[in-house]
Assembly symmetry: C2
C-alpha cells in the first residue's frame, strides 16, 4: 500500500485521521490558551503519536502530558524535552522514571505520603532532580488529595522542601465534567475546577509554601471556561480528535471530529435489519459513550459516506463482539442483533431497506467512535487523510 | 528484568498467565474432544500467542482458528500449517489471504454470494487453492446463513463446484450460549448448535452436495455438550484462559482461570472506600462481564493475594477510566467512585477498613478480568508464572 492512495483502498479495520480537522482543532485550542493567558500542555494519551504532538508543539504547546511510560519514552526519543506523567506515580516503576528524568524534564504526580517517600528516595539515590506535582481532587473523586485537608498543605510543604525534588505545584483533572447533564452543569464544573485550585494555591502561599504552577483541564471544561485567572497551564487531550461523547455533550460538532474507524461490511443476510462490519470491540472498544443513555448511539454512529463530517441519523454500531460490529438502525439489548427478518425497528423511519440499500457486503463505512482515546489505542497506525485522499501513515505508540 | 523473577517484582500493569492452570485447561479440552470423537481446532483469538498454540498442538489440537490476519501471519511464521480465519472474509484483504494460502492450508468463511464471487475470482486469478467454509447461523443472529434458507444449499453447491476453491463444509459459532440464563438453557443452546448443523449437513448431502466438515463450538457450549455425533471439529477458544464471565456462568471455577492482570495500588485517600490501581480500560477493557447484571462484579473481581486461584468476596474493580481502575467493595454507578469519607457501602460487611487494610499505595493486586480475550489483546506480552515465580515471557501478536 503506497502512502498516497484513496481512503477506499485502505485495508480495514483502520484508524483514520482527518488532517484538516485535526489542524483546526490544534489551532483552536492553542488560540484559546493564548487568549486565556495559560500554557497549553496537551494530554497525548488521546493520540500517542509523535507527528500529532509535533503539530501541537508547532502551534505553541509547551510540553506534553502522558498516561504511560511507553508514551513518555516514544516522545523522549523524538526529542520532546518536557513531559508530565499524569497518573499517580507507580512506585515499582521509579527506575524507569529516573531513567527518563536523566534525559529530560520529567514530572510525576504524588498524592500520598507513601508516594512522596518512594519518589524522594529514588531521586536521592539516583542523584537526579525529579519534578513533582501534587494531584488535587476537585470533584471527580477518583484520585487526588482533598483540597480542604491538612494533607494538601503538609504534602506540599514536604515536597517543596525535599531536595532533589522540584515542586511544580498543584494539578487536577475535573473528569466529572463528562457527567454534566447540561451546559450549565458543565460550566459549574469548569468554574469549580478553577476556583478550588486557585483558592488552594492562595492558601498554600499564605502558609509559606511557594506554588509555581496551577495545572487544570479537560476537553469539556476547557470548551466552556471563560476565565482562568490564577491558572498557569491547561492539559486537555481529547480536543485534538474529539469523538461522539463530545458531540453528544454539546462540546463540539460532528465536523470537528478528526478520528474515525474505517470498516468493511462483511455480512448482511437477506431481510435482516442489521449488517456486520469488521470493526468490533478491538477496534471501537466497549465504551458505551455518552453518560446520558438517551443520547447513546450504541458503540458509535456511522458517518454519512466516506468523506465524513456528518453523522448518519439512522445507522449505528449497536453491538460488538471481539472482531464483529453489528450495524443497524435501532438500539436493541447490548450485543444482541435481531433474527433475520423478525424485527420491527424501534426507530421511526428505520426499515430493513436502510440496511439493504447501503450496507452491501464489501462496502466500506466510517464509524464515529464513542471514545476516540480508547479506540485509537487499539490500532498501530493512523491513516492520515485530507478528504478521501490518504496523505500519510503515523505510528501509534501503544504499550506500557 | 530477568526471565526468572518473583511475580511481585513485575512492572505493572501486566498480563499474567498461570502455566499450571493453562496446561490443565489445554489437556482437559483435548481429552474432551478425543472422548467425543471430534478434532479440536482451538480459537487462538483468546491468546494470540505462539507458545500457547504450541501447547495446544502438542496435546492434540489439529490446526488453529484465528480472528485476524496478524494472528494468521504470526502462526504461519511459527510453522503452523493449517489455519481457519473465522470471520466472514473481508473482500478488500483477499490479496493477503492469497498470500497466506500460498504458504499453508488457509481456510476462510463465506456466507454471501458477494463474498463467494470475490473469493472465487481471487483464487482463480492467483491460481491458488483456497479452502472455504459456509458460515451458518444457529441462533446467535450475528453472521451466517439461515440454515433453513435456499441460500444455504445454493451457496454450498456453488462452493463445492467452483475450482480452485476447496469446500470444507459448514461452520457455526453458537455465541448465544453466553446469554444462557442457567445450565438448562446452555444445554439447549449446545444441543441446538449440534442438531441444526447435523440436520443441515444431511440435507445438503441428500441434495447431492458433499459436506466434508461440520465445525461448531464455543467454550460454554463445549463445557456442557455430551454428544457430538455428526460433528467433525470444535473450535472453543476461551477455555484455555477462562475468565470471570465463565466463572459467573458456571462454566468453570475460579481456580480454572489462567489469565489475570497484575496491578499496583497508586492511590488511596484517607477515609475513602476505594483505592485506585494502574489497570484501567486499556488493561481490563470496558467489558461489563456477565450478561446477567446480578452476577456482575464491575470490571472484574480481585483475586485473594498474589498466588491467585480464589476470588475476593468483597473487592472488585468498580470503575475504569483509560489508565485508572477504581477498586472498592461495592458497585456504584459506572465509573463513579464515591467522595472520600462520604459513602456507606452497599455491600453488607464491606467497610472502608477492607480497603484501608489491604490496598495501601504500592501494594500489588491480581484482577480476574471479565473477558480474558479482550484484556489479553491490550498487552504485548504475558508474564508466565508457576505459583508466584515468573518462568517465562511470551509475546502477544496484536494488530490487524
Amino acid at each position: 500500500m503506497p502512502r498516497r492512495a484513496a481512503l477506499a483502498a485502505v485495508p480495514t479495520p483502520a484508524a483514520v485521521l482527518d488532517l484538516d480537522v485535526l489542524e483546526r482543532n490544534v489551532v483552536r485550542m492553542a488560540n484559546k490558551a493564548r487568549t486565556l493567558g495559560v500554557a497549553l500542555r496537551p494530554h497525548a494519551k488521546t493520540h500517542k503519536c509523535v507527528e500529532v504532538a509535533r503539530l501541537q508543539q508547532e502551534r505553541g504547546a509547551r510540553g506534553l502530558t502522558v498516561a504511560t511510560l511507553a508514551e513518555a519514552r516514544a516522545f523522549a526519543d523524538a526529542g520532546f524535552a518536557d513531559l508530565t506523567w499524569a497518573v499517580p506515580v507507580v512506585p515499582g516503576r521509579l527506575d524507569e522514571v529516573v531513567e527518563l528524568a536523566r534525559r529530560l524534564t520529567f514530572r510525576v504526580l504524588v498524592e500520598s505520603d507513601a508516594a512522596a517517600d518512594a519518589v524522594a528516595r529514588a531521586a536521592a539515590e539516583a542523584r537526579v532532580s525529579l519534578h513533582v506535582w501534587i494531584e488535587i481532587d476537585t470533584g471527580q473523586h477518583r484520585t487526588g488529595v482533598d483540597p480542604a485537608s491538612d494533607l494538601a498543605e503538609s504534602l506540599a510543604r514536604r515536597l517543596a522542601t525535599t531536595s532533589p525534588l522540584v515542586f511544580d505545584g498543584i494539578l487536577t483533572h475535573a473528569g466529572q465534567g463528562y457527567g454534566a447533564k447540561d451546559r450549565a452543569a458543565l460550566e459549574r464544573a469548569a468554574a469549580t475546577e478553577r476556583d478550588v485550585m486557585v483558592a488552594l494555591a492562595e492558601r498554600l502561599r499564605r502558609a509559606g509554601v511557594p506554588v509555581p504552577g496551577v495545572s487544570i483541564g479537560s476537553t469539556p471544561t476547557m470548551a466552556v471556561v471563560k476565565d482562568l485567572t490564577g491558572v498557569t497551564e491547561i492539559r486537555p487531550g481529547n480536543y485534538v480528535f474529539n469523538d461522539f461523547v463530545q458531540v453528544a455533550g454539546g462540546v463540539c460538532a460532528p465536523e470537528d471530529c478528526a478520528f474515525s474507524v474505517l470498516a468493511t461490511v462483511i455480512s448482511h443476510q437477506p431481510g435482516a435489519d442489521h449488517a456486520v462490519v469488521d470493526a468490533g470491540a478491538l477496534s471501537l472498544s466497549k465504551d458505551l459513550g455518552p453518560s446520558d443513555p438517551v443520547r447513546r448511539r450504541g458503540y458509535g454512529p456511522l458517518l454519512r459516506g466516506l468523506a465524513g463530517g456528518e453523522v448518519d441519523p439512522v445507522l449505528q454500531v449497536r453491538g460488538v463482539t471481539q472482531e464483529h460490529g453489528i450495524v443497524g438502525p435501532a438500539e436493541t439489548a447490548e450485543g444482541q442483533a435481531r433474527a433475520p427478518g423478525s424485527a420491527q425497528s424501534a426507530v421511526a423511519g428505520a426499515e430493513p431497506a436502510d440496511v439493504e440499500g447501503r450496507l452491501a457486503v464489501g462496502e466500506k463505512v466510517r464509524i464515529l467512535a464513542n471514545h476516540s482515546c480508547l479506540s485509537a489505542a487499539l490500532f498501530d497506525e493512523y491513516w492520515v487523510v485530507r478528504g478521501e485522499d490518504v496523505v500519510d501513515r503515523w505510528r501509534i505508540w501503544r504499550g506500557r
